[in-house]
Symmetry: C2
Subunit: 364 residues, 2 copies
Amino acid sequence: MSRTHNFNAGPAALPLPVLERAQREMIDFEGTGMSLLEHSHRGATYEAVHNDAIARLRRVMEVPDDYEVLFLQGGASLQFAMIAMNFLPQDGSADYIVTGAWSKKALAEAKRYGALAGGKARAAADMHVDGVCSRVPQQDELDLDPGAAYVHVTSNNTIFGTQFHEFPDTGKVPMVVDMSSDILWRPIDVRQFGMIYAGAQKNVGPSGLAIVVLQRDLLARARKDAPSILQYAVHAEQNSLYNTPNSFAIYMVRNVLEHLEDVGGLAAVEKLNRAKATLLYEEFDGDFYRCPVEESSRSVMNVVFRLPTEELEKRFVTESQKAGLVGLKGHRSVGGMRASIYNAVPMASVEALVAFMQSFRKSA
Amino acid sequence: MSRTHNFNAGPAALPLPVLERAQREMIDFEGTGMSLLEHSHRGATYEAVHNDAIARLRRVMEVPDDYEVLFLQGGASLQFAMIAMNFLPQDGSADYIVTGAWSKKALAEAKRYGALAGGKARAAADMHVDGVCSRVPQQDELDLDPGAAYVHVTSNNTIFGTQFHEFPDTGKVPMVVDMSSDILWRPIDVRQFGMIYAGAQKNVGPSGLAIVVLQRDLLARARKDAPSILQYAVHAEQNSLYNTPNSFAIYMVRNVLEHLEDVGGLAAVEKLNRAKATLLYEEFDGDFYRCPVEESSRSVMNVVFRLPTEELEKRFVTESQKAGLVGLKGHRSVGGMRASIYNAVPMASVEALVAFMQSFRKSA
């Protein structure tokens, strides 16, 4: 069987050994005569997988002891609401650094919740110019409120192909960061953040799961007036087993983390990711293939580019698909091309894309 | 490979052909060279699965055209909150028929939300006597408010092993029913209900998914002040693709529904379920094996029973496990035994259980 070169923005490529393992274990998990899907979330078999996933995430990300690791449902979109429900104080405010569609949505949800339950959410920056964000802001462009309860940042913008390579300095205000599209792409210092969250379906696993890494000091400040299921404290107290978790997704995340450790951990992954991105960005000549993102903000995960005409872009999409390269069409809101080259996309796929780009340019 | 006899309360047994199909298709879905887990939720391949799942649920349950079918994340527990966020009017109230732990939780979440955002949730009945609910209420035991926005009912109580065999008459007030543990066990008239919801992990698929069947008239009355991700209208407008869905769980639900149609639909399933339950209930002699549930309220899905002493119950759990029968320990809050015999539990498993019960009684 030949694997397609998968450049989807999410759900996205998964490591082949992880899929092979899921296939092998699908019907009879560890000799129990049952699928993991059929195991009780209160049983020893599942709990071992659950706790192993948490332990591996702690180890791989070097999560300090005073941070909780939570596995929640609803993806990053539910986090947009939960962040406000937990951390937007009734008489206080929060800052949002808007660098694309997702941070805009996160701000909108916080504003909605503030209107209902008190609290004000404001943009500390908005990088949209004519509907496009071609870079992330510099420190001196941020209008940060030192009294804010938190500053919300989106570390990587899947649609515009931008990424924070250095995070803003928010002083004593905790940073809450949406890392949905670049969690685990390299080692980071978790202590920079009050909370890290990510939908799993780009760099860590299948869809239907959000990973939350949350400092206990910040958690202690959470509001207690939301429904129980939407309170981080409730999930933290129950080790993410307050209600039935998405057990299959957590199992897959555990296996992705195991694979990640097997291939050398985040330092090795960063090296490979940088090499993949460099190979691709070097193919842009500024003429036929043009990158609309300012150089200092270019994403290592989502590489966006344009061709001279929309007609050529359409042809590029069609012909690349025929050549076994999928997911290269840019987001419908911006057009153009996008190659998502998350952790699980092998160098061979990037090389195949570059070869296709070269032959397409010649033939155009 | 021999399959374990799985009596788990949920996550629970799945049909073997459905697991075999998932195994077969895990790495290369329909010849695309990718796993379904790696397909974009905006792509044609996934969308066909998504829409097929909705269409099959409509067909199998005979869902009328003026009802939405939604696939949401967060399980039934998030529905407890969403029901209040959408349908508890700021100046109105809702009735809850409390028949066990889950309806109690649903009421508690609605009360919490009412305290925050307006609206009153009240118990129209509470069947707890000394912490136990040994039956569901009769119509004349209900203190229903004709001005309520909705009446919430739990159709089957997994922990206490009770079930509504006829639903209450709520007059013109829409009934919102949690069918997590008995959805699809038999044909029902969907028109009796304003909303049906269910966590998928008992009768329909893996964990991490809630199924919602919602009348458009009721939807039109929903509050609009909750975060977008928690509004049913937002998900209905986007065909449950407002955010990335739990695509694997929806794929599995599609396959369970296909299997269900293959074996003759709900009429055939009901016949088998009744035969399984009858075989088991007939084994209760009122002496060694005693059912604490009143006869008219006994569940066809979760059969609870007690033995003469707690010591014998402990031995029963241990020895049944050794005999390849898993999940027979009752919920920790009530003790005793529980055999969950959902749709996917074959008659052979119930026969094996009955044979074990007979030999255990002799040896005790």
